[in-house]
Chain length 235, copies 2
DNA sequence: TATAATTTGTCCGTATGTATA
DNA sequence: TTATACATACGGACAAATTAT
């Protein structure tokens, strides 16, 4: 059973993306949305709250809820975590698998993934190519106690989609540390750049709702094409 | 009159930082917090919701609200925008003013700041030094129609603090685009790095609650010392 | 300029669902 | 299985900011 506020949010987002509100650059008022969706004011407010956090709208007290036009070409919105397959669904996304191994956590990985040394892991290296341009070189570790099975098809498409296709495994938290550093020789080669070029690096931990850390990954982005977008609002 | 949920949130944050919950790594239950703060359940939930978004706690249904220990030393938490003066209040923060001019918006700046060409602006260049290490070289443009006055003391301390000291001027939104690029010669010199070294760059727009874009800035960070932290949770 | 209407923001109490212990 | 604790949802009331009269 999907929560009502999520249904409303999805519907509003779809309408917004389809340009339904482009004429007046405003959403209907809360009272109108209550009528449209036949839910309580709280539920409406919760739905639009998420949209406001994602930077899609800007509610102004006494005035209305206005569309924002910050929509980014080619920016990765940090408020919307959905894996690359979804982020670039309107682009041609290729994935080159460089490594796909079953390993066991060493001290460093065990610490990063908050588990015992020797915990079984999948280790991946992949290059993501968007519209023919190398976008990202990814190192991934996945805890096999939580993700027991993967195959070549899954990792060539979307690990994220595969995991969330199990309704019991709901992603709860994703932490990212964003840094810049120099590309290694290997990374440069994979991204068609030069060794020592700048890299925009995102080091990620993904956890399930109950807190189990199942995924640790280092994403080394092409600095020429990748931008992160962070939208904040202060209620 | 400050909102109750903000009061509760501030109190809980202070308690958490002071280590009040360190023994069991949990917050009191919602019902206990209702008793403690004498407010409704909604108000409690709203307060802890903000804390969860900031990555301080992890609420787990059926179990409790657990402390998270992600508080990475020296990371700039992207969920908490408060200017550097506040972020580094426990560090020695120096500011070197390189430029402080009154100018008028050219086409490029007018576009970025969504205003007319010729709009009066303050233009700043500053180096921020944390504990003796150059942390960030900042270019800032401030719309003088919204920020009519600044002086050397204000810009050496905190423009942000000065602006928000006026209770009528409440910051509503901050958009950031995060990229990596090479340092220019000037930037490298200011940061005690080498020309061509990587830079972690944040390009920011800050808006008041009613949407006026008052500040545009480009922050070029020292890639050796600066990390951004982005914490997400998926309710 | 002042007032009323509109619209979002805050807060309360209650009921029921769902995941965990 | 039962109790605990967070999640969702409803409806009502009033406050605050903006817009229209």
């Amino acid at each position: 059973m999907t929560a009502k506020y999520k249904v409303v949010e999805a519907a509003l987002e779809r309408d917004l993306i389809e340009g339904k509100f482009d004429d007046i650059r405003k959403l209907p008022t809360e009272d109108e949305l209550i009528e449209i969706y036949k839910v309580s004011r709280n539920t409406i407010r919760r739905a639009v709250d998420v949209m406001a956090r994602r930077g899609m709208i800007m509610p102004i007290q006494g005035s209305g809820m206005f569309l924002r036009d910050v929509f980014q070409e080619g920016c990765v919105n940090l408020e919307v975590f959905r894996g690359m397959t979804d982020t670039f669904k309107n682009n041609r996304l290729e994935t080159k698998v460089i490594a796909f191994d079953q390993i066991f956590a060493n001290e460093e990985i065990a610490k990063a993934m908050r588990c015992e040394i020797g915990t079984p892991m999948f280790y991946l290296e992949r290059v993501r190519i968007v519209d023919g341009i190398p976008n990202c070189f990814e190192y991934s570790w996945l805890n096999r106690n939580y993700i027991p099975y993967l195959n070549n098809e899954i990792i060539t498409n979307s690990v994220y989609e595969f995991i969330t296709s199990d309704p019991k495994k709901k992603i709860g938290y994703v932490d990212r540390v964003i840094t810049a550093r120099r590309l290694t020789e290997k990374e440069a080669k994979m991204l068609s750049l030069k060794e020592g070029d700048p890299a925009l690096v995102s080091t990620n931990c993904a956890m399930f709702k109950a807190g189990e850390l199942f995924d640790y990954s280092i994403n080394v982005h092409n600095f020429e094409t990748v931008k992160f977008l962070k939208l904040s609002n202060f209620a």
